[in-house]
Symmetry: C3
């Protein structure tokens, strides 16, 4: 794959700055790109890398630091970069097409126009696969499940029966959607399984990370709202409702029936008890253990989680506990000495 | 699917209370059930929902709050509900039968009567699949592994060679049973792999959540005892012995050779060092880090875990650390002032 | 499978000590081995088990406690044990060979001599599978990915496109290599996906646990260095660089672009923020939350992590917080009493 910078400018709609004949063969990181690669600078925090950057060209906003370098200038460098990636990365991959003869598709399943089903994938009875949706090899879509348009279901992903994915949903490898919720009734010191007959509903533009597990509702639905992004190995228990445009880092866990607002962000390895509400625009720091509801626009941290400023203060004071004990000891000694002195008086 | 309330009463053995001709088309949550659904009220904590509940009928214990509502009354509402779920949920699903022609089954594997093997599933040499056990599509059962009767092995589950599952074991999607334990001998600052030649033994009525990983013993067995329930994404290291009727929430991890008693319950994201013993009926709160053995009937919390009451007290005092520092400062100031005053005297 | 102790001595190169005609039928733990099994004693901490050990023979270093027992004596008992395991454990398993007719292999994929591809496995276009590498059933290797020699790819493992695994890499069941990194640009309170066009590079002799997820670089590579061992359910974000001969326990998570040195060891459930550096030979205790870089040869603990000795001291003092509050109260009371007394004077 080779493109001149001029060709890439045309393709991306970015403004060509110097070096129109420069030949680009791939994409590289600003810190390590080679002389036949194009690189990408969005965050000006990293502009000091430009000095030693060997890349043939840079995709960037207007920036004086570029000096006379060959560049593609754009107000939306991410978009330009995405288009360049489409050329050099995805352009080199075979676009999957059609239904592999080694896929197993129920006779009454419904495939939309341009839907793709890879080798070894299994599509259950009455399942619907929307237009342009790609079910990669070895993925599973259960009975009565419905996938919208232009979804990407990666290898090994399991979508059990009666789940609903809307449009442009991405499910990464080995994620599980629609497993039974963890519901048992205690009975004479044993556990009796409570049937889990609800669904999982995934709205438009959601991305589900590799190895994520989203349980179906006990009754009713587990929901992930439009545009929310879940990193790898996250656990979502039954009847959790996640709002829109959230972003959760890896390995976090949501206990049953918790309600998450819109635009909530969470660091990794956060845990959350069940039946609480996290307000819109709340921020939960990594490894927090959230034991009660969090209001809108509130940042919390710690296990158990406290408001961020309080948690930070406590954490700083924790580091001073040895000093505290010493000061207390000194005070006690001084006080005792005072008393002794008085006695002596 | 439609049933009259009278039909459901007969089917569940519950007592019909009003509205025998009411037609039920599905199951709904008490908070959101529609007028053609039946709902379920077990926990009287939620009986206030009845007021605005639009469901056609309720499955419940005897309860005055039901007033004149159409209802199915049972001393065991979970059982009645499970039977109704069997009608409306599982009743609508195709009962899997037989061995799919796209399954790969070793010539010397042994399948019990009524055993089911789905498309793409792979059954290794000499493996035994018990009567009525369902191996869903794309699941893997390795050489010499033995599964008892009426097990459910969901899509993508991997049971490696020489593992033993007893009867009525449920393995959720993409769980892994029998992976190598994490065992290495340090050797000149490198790691040499120690062969992991033990088994995993899963006793009757155990449920293994989606994405759970249970390593085989180094030598000897890793064991999950009868009736224990493991939520999603739990890690069980080599030679762990889990007792009977335990329940562990998601994302917890057990290090090697830990011994867990009977009826132990754990919140999510608990971690545990190896070679310790957790007593019968112990309770471990979410996100705890258990660094030493826990006696019978003891609740612990925190990282490192402490007895529950102590952990709670410490946690409350943590919130008062800023106050503590202030009080100490005041005392020091007062004390110094006193000394100064004395000096001045 | 049966071997005399004399046969095993020959096979392992260990020194036969007593009982050359003793017949061995399998391997057992020192605590529970039966009278037809051979057991293994490496750590002399466990030599007290010998007293009641019923095993027919012991593999061990020279040790007076063995007394007159039948034994195989070796300066490298792990190696002798590994060879015995090869006989009794792997010896009983069918050595996988050839390419199963139910595997799906792209016409232009390249398989080395002796490469094995199991039933249902899928190998993408232009992928290369090295000599002697075993791709187990239902594993997936994407387009343009290259696997070196003598790798083991277990069932359900997913290696996406354009990843590179060197020689003798082991990937356990349902691990995911090459999933998209978690990269989004905020845009009007929504998240826009940033293409993830880098690779994952896994060097020689690395072991990747079951359910582990390793994301591909955004641009550039995510790297796991030679000889490093990752336990189950670990998360490795995009562009993380892990050094050589590291060992990480289960369920830990590395955020994007973190740099891990050589010979770093970590307990389970550790979390790490992005863009930090962990020095060579650093040790990170279980459940730590590492929020800033850690120097070489440094041990840290806690969330947020502190140097080990400090963290331990703080943890001990935490347990004395109730005492601290009491002492402070007493001091305040005494001080007030003193003031009152003075007033009274």
């Amino acid at each position: 794959m080779e493109k001149t910078l001029a060709e890439l400018a045309k393709l991306t709609g970015a403004e060509l700055r110097n070096g129109e004949g420069v030949v680009i063969k791939g994409i590289g990181e600003i810190s390590s790109a080679g002389p036949d690669q194009i690189t990408f600078l969005e965050n000006i925090k990293y502009k000091h890398w430009l000095k030693d950057c060997k890349a043939a060209a840079v995709i960037s906003r207007e920036l004086s630091d570029l000096a006379g370098r060959p560049a593609l200038i754009s107000d939306d460098p991410y978009l330009a970069f995405a288009k360049v990636t489409a050329v050099f990365y995805y352009g080199g991959l075979a676009a999957p097409t059609g239904v592999d003869k080694r896929a197993t598709i129920a006779a009454d399943a419904v495939l939309g126009q341009g839907a793709v089903v890879g080798a070894g994938a299994v599509i259950g009875a009455r399942a619907e696969i929307g237009r342009g949706t790609v079910v990669h090899p070895l993925a599973f879509v259960g009975e009565d499940s419905r996938l919208g348009q232009d979804c990407l279901i990666y290898p090994g992903a399991v979508i059990r029966e009666r789940c609903y994915l809307s449009d442009r949903v991405i499910v990464h490898p080995n994620a599980v959607i629609g497993s039974d919720g963890f519901g048992y009734a205690p009975e004479k010191k044993k556990w009796r399984k409570i049937p889990q007959s609800g669904r999982v509903v995934i709205e438009d533009d959601v991305e589900i990370g590799a190895g994520v597990c989203i349980d179906r509702g006990a009754i009713g639905d587990t929901v992930v709202g439009r545009g929310s992004k879940l990193d790898n190995l996250i656990q979502v228990a039954h009847n959790v409702k996640i709002g829109e445009d959230c972003a959760f880092a890896a390995q976090s866990g949501f206990s049953g029936s918790s309600q998450i607002g819109d635009r909530v962000t969470m660091g990794g390895q956060v845990g959350m008890v069940g039946h609480i509400t996290i307000g819109d625009d709340a921020m939960i720091a990594a490894q927090s253990g959230v034991a009660k509801s969090v209001p809108d626009k509130t940042a919390v941290f710690g296990s158990p989680a406290r408001p961020m400023s309080e948690a930070r203060r406590i954490n700083a004071l924790l580091g001073r506990l040895p000093e505290l004990f010493e000061r207390l000891q000194e005070l006690e000694d001084g006080f005792d000495a005072g008393k002794d002195k008085k006695k002596d008086d």
